[in-house]
């Protein structure tokens, strides 16, 4: 067993760390306060190739492995999870979904500009009444012969405003339930698509989140991905990989908070000594370090399985559930170690704590991950 990273993987990790610390850190608090993303950050992210880093170079991507992706996601998430979620959606969901299931015409037209970072993608699955229960899709894509006619509403859509390419999951044959679901590529500027206001969120406030309404939207037949009725399988397979992205995001949020808490504990004095020298604080940090190490290993194991083309659905669910849950625990303890300073924005840990909460909810709640894991135990 080899736990060493390759020279390239280390270079990618360092590139992500440099980008996060040099570019993102400086005004991350203000962007969170004002709930805005910086266009220049997204442009730089694209120029560096982080938006299409895992896509095959023949489709203009970086051709990096999933382990490299985990390392990059962790570093960027230590500083700004609003940016890393954009990166996760583009890489794990949209680009990966297109690369693996779209036809060559679709890849040429849609995947290449996405992999180059010239365009941003969004993945439209969640609905007002279909979150964890993804089989209950109410958005319809009615087969009209020459085209599909879309009606319905998607909720909590990351990159909804920034994106120009949507991957939309919709119901074509309601009586067939999940077997009647299809996946489509939809241009955002298609007539009939409107966006709700930017969601005013607890954390990842700068992330571009909206509801998206479809009102008699005509989508060409050539934009359906895969065979008729393939949409639910498409969504589930894509989400298997998406969970690795969010697991590594949660890991980054946890390790970012841990690094700040460790540094603070070695500077802050109480009762005549640095607070690290108080056992209650040292033991908290020890527990945090063990959890982060476990989380990192779960992420890397899932990524490694994916890179080896071995089954990784259960491993990615384990990584997602554990990383998200410990991100909440670790960030809460990081705030506690900082005391009053942790409760103000200047020290970043309260923001990381707010960001951690979302990782337990989106891309499959922790409870949904437990359903996936427990069902795998019976196989």
């Amino acid at each position: 067993m080899d736990f060493n990273f390759t020279e390239e993987q280390l270079m990618i990790q360092q590139a992500a760390k440099d980008f996060a610390e040099r570019e993102l850190l400086v005004d991350v608090i203000e962007r969170d306060d004002n709930a805005v993303q910086s266009a220049s950050h997204i442009k730089k992210l694209a120029e560096l190739g982080f938006l299409g880093m895992m896509t095959d170079p023949k489709y203009d991507g970086g051709g990096m492995d999933t382990v490299s992706y985990v390392l990059a996601m962790e570093e960027i998430s230590k500083v700004d999870a609003s940016i890393s979620v954009l990166m996760s959606v583009c890489n794990s969901l949209v680009n990966w979904g297109l690369e693996n299931f779209a036809n060559e015409f679709q890849k040429e037209k849609y995947l290449k500009p996405l992999a180059r970072g010239e365009k941003i993608g969004a993945f439209l699955l969640s609905e007002p009444e279909a979150g964890s229960d993804a089989t209950s899709q109410r958005t319809t894509a009615e087969d009209k012969g020459d085209y599909y006619l879309f009606n319905g509403t998607k909720n909590w859509i990351t990159n909804a405003h920034l994106a120009s390419t949507y991957l939309v999951i919709a119901q074509t044959y309601p009586d067939k339930k999940h077997k009647g679901i299809n996946a489509f590529i939809v241009d955002k500027d298609t007539p009939g698509i409107t966006l709700g206001p930017h969601e005013n969120k607890m954390g990842m406030r700068a992330s571009d989140t909206h509801s998206v309404m479809f009102n008699d939207v005509k989508v060409p037949k050539e934009n359906r991905i895969g065979e008729d009725g393939f949409g639910f399988t498409f969504a589930m397979k894509t989400l298997d990989g998406g969970r690795i992205g969010i697991a590594s995001q949660a890991l980054g949020i946890a390790s970012g908070a841990f690094e700040r808490a460790l540094k603070y504990s070695r500077e802050r004095k109480a009762f005549g000594t640095e607070i690290f020298n108080h056992q209650s604080v040292a033991f908290k940090l020890s527990d945090m370090a063990v959890k982060i190490e476990n989380a990192r290993n779960l992420c890397l194991k899932a990524a490694w399985l994916k890179d080896q083309h071995l089954p990784y659905g259960t491993a990615s669910a384990m990584a997602k559930q554990y990383c998200a849950d410990i991100a909440m625990e670790v960030t809460t303890e990081a705030v506690q170690i900082h005391g009053g300073y942790g409760y103000v924005k200047e020290y970043h840990v309260e923001r990381l704590m707010r960001e951690a909460k979302l990782t337990q909810i989106y891309e499959g709640t922790s409870e949904v991950q437990k359903i996936i894991i427990s069902r795998s135990l019976l196989k």
């Binding site: 020279e7 390239e8 280390l10 270079m11 990618i12 590139a15 440099d18 980008f19 040099r22 120029e47 560096l48 190739g49 982080f50 299409g52 880093m53 170079p57 970086g62 051709g63 990096m64 070695r266 500077e267 802050r268 004095k269 640095e274």
Partner: protein, 248 residues
């Protein structure tokens, strides 16, 4: 023009420095990086190649060091250098590094040789000047701006009380400092991927005496821990600044 950038492999600036018996640097567990001054000059060379490809034919990086320096060379290739050379040698003092470089460069033809103003480990600040002397070509030190205008090399360098702008004939050694580029270039994913295919040539160093013997190293005194004073307690802050730190 052909540009050669000399890069040194140095410990990461956040490394906790330790010595073995105060005689030699303890490199165990150290993460190595491109010397930040060299990385800035490299960044500028690559910026010029990207923006003025008609003026810059190639950017080559060169290092005098052991095989473990190749990670830094490959990073330079990922940033955008066209090819890399490692002169295989475990020499470490400025004289022998400059000598090794000059022996190789004398056989090749480069129009401008870039060096950082100093290395962040030993802070010798002398390789660039020595290299120019060995090669019998001019050097321009403390360069904070480098351009090529109408085929002519223009540099700006710091002088006492201000800056001077010079038009320089090639070949020459450019010794760059802060300002020559805004910040080091971050390698892109595509750059990291294409670095695999770029040539990294290893040449054996020549025999050379080291002129410097390291007698002893001392670590600086440990800094006192940061003390935080409550914002309301201005009186205590002033008292500490006045009586303890003695800065006011």
């Amino acid at each position: 023009m052909k540009i050669l950038v000399c890069i040194n492999n140095v410990p990461d600036t956040t490394t906790k420095i330790k010595f073995v018996d105060n005689k030699a640097f303890d490199s165990a567990g150290v993460q190595w990086i491109i010397n930040p001054w060299d990385e800035l000059t490299l960044t500028r060379a690559i910026e010029m190649k990207e923006t003025q490809p008609a003026d810059i034919e190639s950017v080559t990086v060169i290092n005098v060091g052991r095989a473990d320096a190749e990670a830094s060379i490959r990073k330079a290739l990922a940033i955008g250098a066209d090819n890399g050379i490692r002169i295989n040698s475990d020499t470490s003092d400025s004289y022998s590094v400059a000598f090794q470089l000059s022996e190789y460069i004398a056989k090749e033809k480069y129009d401008i040789i870039f060096c950082g103003i100093e290395s962040s480990d030993y802070n010798g600040g002398s390789v660039g000047g020595m290299l120019a002397e060995f090669l019998a070509i001019p050097s321009v030190s403390s360069v904070s701006m480098f351009e090529i205008k109408d085929g002519k090399v223009v540099v700006k360098r710091e002088i006492d009380g201000g800056n001077e702008t010079l038009s320089v004939q090639t070949p020459f050694v450019l010794i760059g400092q802060k300002g020559i580029a805004i910040e080091p270039k971050i390698p892109s994913m595509r750059g990291i991927m294409t670095a695999r295919t770029k040539q990294l040539t290893v040449v054996e160093g020549v025999a050379c005496n080291q002129l410097i013997e390291f007698v002893d190293f001392d670590l600086p005194k440990a800094k006192a821990a940061c003390r935080k004073i409550d914002a309301e307690n201005v009186k205590e802050l002033i008292d500490l600044l006045h009586n303890e730190a003695k800065v006011i």
